[in-house]
């Protein structure tokens, strides 16, 4: 059994060796991993801290008032996280993705044998992994220092919603970078899109609503629809990114 496990670990570290090195060399340079963890998280925490409270004069029940405040705080935390992530995607990942394709460094790695769709996959996975790590740490800060209490299912749902949202924006960025390969225009266009659609395109807003603002009476059906829709959207975006990416010609 242990030999099997050992072989599995060895196979895993051996598989996609070229692609992993390519991702390291092309995208995760100059502390991008650390930035991906720290920046969205601290922006989210700042947004969370500086959310102002309101005074209430109506006769609403205290529990409802507490829940409204809690959802507002979490919303502002997530807003900060999204701003951080979209800015990083636009400013770092997009520019790097475009420049590595146009200056031939992407072509070099594909030339020596790395599969380009695997490079894309590994970049996506690493970006998602590190930004999710940042979000989780941010949640821990919000729960401990912020004192916002949540149930474990709520945390899981929020996390799924957030990760799904990150994937959506990452893929939108990648598709954009395939169509318009300009190091200045593309990030600006992406930021414009992100700024105007941060609310409209938030695919799992139903989940947020279900858990954070129960007074909106979101049903479990609309929750499922939200999850399915965002899943569908992400799969669609991923397939089209791969399709466009495979057809692009590379410079060596």
């Amino acid at each position: 059994m242990f030999t099997g496990l050992h072989n599995y670990i060895q196979n895993y570290s051996e598989s996609d060796k070229f692609e992993k090195e390519a991702v390291k060399a092309l995208f995760f340079k100059s502390y991008l991993k650390e930035i991906l963890i720290l920046v969205p998280m601290s922006l989210g925490f700042l947004f969370f801290l500086f959310t102002s409270s309101d005074t209430y004069t109506s006769g609403t029940s205290i529990v409802t008032q507490f829940e409204l405040m809690r959802s507002r705080l979490i919303f502002s935390f997530l807003e900060g996280v999204f701003v951080g992530i979209t800015v990083i995607i636009a400013m770092v990942q997009l520019i790097r993705w475009i420049s590595s394709q146009s200056d031939g460094s992407f072509g070099y790695w594909v030339g020596i044998g790395a599969k380009r769709e695997k490079i894309l996959r590994h970049t996506l996975i690493s970006t998602i992994y590190f930004s999710t790590l940042g979000v989780i740490i941010g949640f821990i800060l919000v729960f401990s220092i912020g004192g916002i209490s949540f149930g474990s299912i709520e945390i899981l749902a929020l996390l799924i919603a957030t990760v799904s949202n990150i994937i959506t924006w990452l893929l939108i960025g990648l598709i954009l970078s395939q169509f318009i390969q300009n190091q200045v225009l593309t990030p600006i266009l992406f930021l414009f899109l992100a700024a105007t659609n941060l609310y409209a395109l938030r695919p799992l807003s139903e989940v947020y609503r279900y858990f954070l603002a129960p007074q909106f009476n979101t049903t479990i059906n609309s929750l499922m629809v939200g999850i399915l829709l965002s899943l569908l959207l992400n799969i669609l975006l991923f397939m089209s990114t791969l399709w466009v990416h495979k057809r692009s010609e590379l410079v060596l």
Binding site: S105, A114, R247, L250, L252
Partner: protein, 349 residues
């Protein structure tokens, strides 16, 4: 005697014919591949081997020689209305191929098509090699410029395995371990790009202008080391270059490309006698001397006047002495390269 064990290691690849015996010397394989000697000469030299072992070796060589290197089937490629390759159909199982042609003749396009970086508009390209066996040095290699030389070497070690040649690359190529690749001079950057060839066991090496930016000494050193690596692992080589000596060093056959068309395929394996090109002040006089000494010659007209082409012959020196004693002048005597000879008028002078 050093064994032939390195070829036994690739048992995973079922297509590969594997030699089980380790008695067979490397030199035998090289002799057989190069066909420098006749079959009987080789058999006499290695008489210690049994008939079975010898047959096994021959089968192996036959298999390796007939294995397809690459194939193009009516491949067409256009860049913004400029045709880079015109309906190219070519198939080869040669051990090594040189690509020769002017700038923009389609050499680099051919390499990009092989590597799958660009897709042909029509036709198909066949080129099957595992990533582990392939080494590519493009004309403008884009190495990760933020890597230090040490980190680059670590990466290569991780990708291909330890370097087989026991050489201190840093000392030999004047590379410092903590220098960043992006800060290296053009020549040393080129050397860093050539480093992958020396790691692991390359089976196919693709070189595009490998020695640009290198000084004469470094070029010589690098080419010698590459040649050694190629011979050791019997790697197949595809080399695109403007420099005849590089092509000569590695190629069994040369593809002559011009404007996306395959002009000719020139085999380089059969022996050609060395010839000299001679230009003199008095053509009539020299022709007379050559005739008198019964030396075969060809008279060619070039841009710079008439030129004699003669084989290497001891009588030639007698003839030139006779000619010079009449107070005439010889402008130049040049050895003609194998490739130069074959390419004929295209690059003469």
């Amino acid at each position: 005697m050093k064994g032939f064990s390195y070829l036994v290691e690739d048992e995973k690849d079922s297509k590969q014919l594997v030699l089980k015996t380790s008695k067979i010397p490397v030199s035998l394989i090289i002799d057989l591949i190069k066909k420098d000697k006749t079959f009987h000469q080789i058999k006499e030299q290695y008489s210690s081997l049994t008939e079975v072992e010898f047959q096994e070796t021959l089968d192996f060589i036959k298999f390796e020689n007939e294995r397809l290197l690459f194939a193009f089937d009516s491949v067409q490629k256009t860049y913004r209305n400029v045709v880079a390759l015109k309906k190219l159909t070519y198939k080869t199982s040669a051990r090594s191929i040189g690509l020769f042609g002017r700038n923009g003749s389609g050499k680099s396009t051919l390499i990009k098509l092989l590597l799958g970086l660009i897709k042909p508009e029509s036709g198909s390209v066949t080129f099957n090699y595992s990533t582990q066996d392939l080494r590519v040095v493009p004309d403008f290699p884009k190495l990760p410029s933020h890597y230090s030389v040490n980190k680059w070497m670590e990466t290569l070690e991780n990708l291909y395995g330890l370097p087989d040649i026991n050489v201190d690359f840093e000392g030999l190529f004047d590379l410092k371990g903590d220098e960043l690749l992006g800060e290296l001079s053009a020549g040393r950057y080129r050397v860093a790009a050539l480093l992958p060839i020396f790691y692991g066991k390359p089976k196919i090496i693709i070189l595009d202008e490998p020695t640009t930016f290198l000084d004469a000494v470094m070029k010589d050193l690098v080419l010698t080391l590459i040649k050694r690596q190629v011979e050791k692992y019997q790697s197949k080589v595809i080399i695109a270059s403007h420099q005849i000596d590089e092509i000569n060093l590695f190629s069994d056959a040369v593809l002559l490309l011009d404007d996306g068309l395959l002009l000719a395929e020139i085999p380089m394996t059969d022996d050609i006698e060395t010839k000299y090109s001679i230009r003199v002040s008095d053509t009539m006089e020299f022709e007379g001397v050559l005739k008198k000494n019964k030396i075969k010659y060809e008279l060619k007209e070039t841009r710079f006047g008439f030129m004699f082409v003669t084989p290497l012959n001891t009588k030639l020196w007698t003839a030139t002495r006779q000619y010079l004693s009449n107070e005439k002048m010889i402008y130049s005597i040049k050895k003609i390269d194998k490739l130069q000879e074959k390419l004929g008028g295209i690059i003469t002078e």
